[in-house]
Symmetry: C2
Subunit: 322 residues, 2 copies
């Protein structure tokens, strides 16, 4: 998939955080890209660059009810589209089922009817639940789900693997830690910056701040995915994506406050996790993807700081997501 | 859940092979039972005994579209209802998603709206795919799915575990080997006996006959489930159910032919598995359920022979299932 070998990709959730970053990279590498988004959380502004490129075409559609002919002529499908809101799963349990599990099935069926057999899927480190093994490798003990989001992604992984066995598909499945960087529009950094912009003297922190988290920069994430699909050629290729480090939520607060130049009172809600299904420590063993020569360029500290800078330069993000 | 402590159970798929056996046992133990079935594969005749018992009430309904008030007043839900046809998954991929994954979600939501929090779920050894660890324990390495059936059951397990974490449910999840015994109406013994009744001189065998399988008698299976829900009290309790032995398909053929008194030519379709997603060797580590004092009473050989006797005594089974 070098520049001399242009491929026609389809990217679901193309106006999302990861989707749009991926679209830009694929276009930069000389590929054609069909993007699908329903713009429920995706942002038109994230596609400003892509829309100027004749190799990009946009389909505004909802994958819960997509016509298969949208996939016509596509050689490879990236499927990052998802309800990515882990935290509020229990408030609307049907959403993860419909937007993650059933939509993944719809994508697989659309591929099958168009004789497309290669898919890359954005899964999550949440599928490990609270693993007994940390750092958690891809073949960790059979996990027990702790969130509807994780369960819906596990179901998506299972469907994809079954299509590989049953219909000759090839899959690359990526289990992410939390992703940060430009165009980041949810999660704790977004939440903290938003809070501190409104009231610089007080910050409400879910949990006790001790939750350790591992983050990966979105550009590093996209590079890792492209490395894997170029090099790993099994039927089902599963990779953890993350950095070899972690931070505590309290570290993150310190870095954010440093950039914003604020010293808020910290109001902890208490407990060792932020919400039901929150994992007090997600830290993935990434030796498998590293063995292919990939490594992250951005540290967690730099990733968080870059994200804050992006959010400060793009205040519109808070308006559309509030 | 002894006779002195009557519980109101709901059993999905109550007219099915496992469901109806469970209903009879629960009634025998003095409990009340509400049974749900859509009679797509369930058999009225399996409920002949139950229907005479005033502690049993039947709801003819389809769980893809069930009204939650059917669950009113229920204390405990057994959910064996499923599309149990592993073999033809690739011919109708939507069926496993709808009848197994989405139906399980519907059951969980109906429970939640009726404040019912205890569920027992019939999963399958197929969720292990082709495990690197045999006999396969419950905490085997993170599995890769090889069938749509396995994927749909894994998705059901994930949903149930997420409801335990998110909504305070308690679950008992059972991963079965193949189940045999009275009322058995699918799978290889059913297929072989049916073939040999039609043409005693020739038997078509999928694969090369070397596939090793582990079977459990349906009465032993029901006893194991009741043992587990009485004794295991974690949030999510997962148990493999099977015997400590296995047989080859060729052994099974020998036992079946012995009872039928036939010596057919064997026509093997070849290969080390019967169909796509068939696992050449499913053999589960059952030490966890055995540690609770349960052990099977029926050997695989006796289980297969009993099943053949049942099928010979109940030729109607072949008529309704042909």
């Amino acid at each position: 998939m070098t520049k001399t070998n242009s491929v026609r990709f389809l990217v679901t959730g193309c106006a999302g955080f990861i989707g749009s970053t991926l679209v830009d990279r694929l276009l930069l590498d000389g590929h054609e890209v069909v993007g699908i988004d329903n713009f429920s959380t995706g942002q038109w502004r994230f596609l400003e660059g892509a829309m100027k490129n004749p190799a990009f075409s946009l389909v505004e559609a909802d994958l819960t009810n997509v016509k298969a002919d949208v996939f016509k002529g596509v050689e490879y499908v990236f499927h990052p589209a998802a309800n990515a809101d882990v935290r509020f799963g229990t408030q609307h349990p049907r959403r993860d089922l419909e937007q993650n599990t059933i939509v993944t099935f719809n994508v697989l069926e659309a591929m099958r009817s168009n004789h497309i057999s290669r898919i890359a899927f954005s899964s999550t480190g949440s599928v490990y639940g609270e693993s007994t093994l940390v750092p958690t490798p891809e073949d960790a003990p059979f996990p027990i789900q702790t969130s509807l989001y994780g369960a819906s992604k596990l179901a998506g992984e299972g469907l994809i693997a079954a299509y590989c066995e049953g219909f000759g598909f090839q899959a690359h499945i990526f289990r992410f830690v939390s992703i940060l960087g430009d165009r980041y529009t949810h999660g704790h950094v977004f939440d903290f910056v938003g809070q501190l912009k409104r009231s610089p003297n007080r910050l409400v922190v879910l949990g006790d701040g001790s939750q350790r988290k591992s983050y990966l920069d979105v550009e590093d994430c996209v590079s890792a995915m492209l490395t894997a699909i170029e090099q790993a050629d099994c039927k089902v290729n599963i990779f953890n994506l993350g950095t070899n480090e972690y931070c505590a939520v309290n570290d993150s607060i310190r870095w954010i406050c440093e950039i914003l130049g604020v010293s808020p009172d910290l109001d902890y809600t208490g407990g060792d996790r932020g919400w039901i299904g929150d994992n007090p420590f997600i830290y993935l063993d990434t030796s498998r993807i590293r063995s292919l020569g990939w490594k992250p360029k951005v540290s967690i500290e730099d990733g968080i700081k870059r994200t804050v800078q992006y959010l400060l330069k793009n205040p519109w993000v808070f308006e559309v997501r509030s």
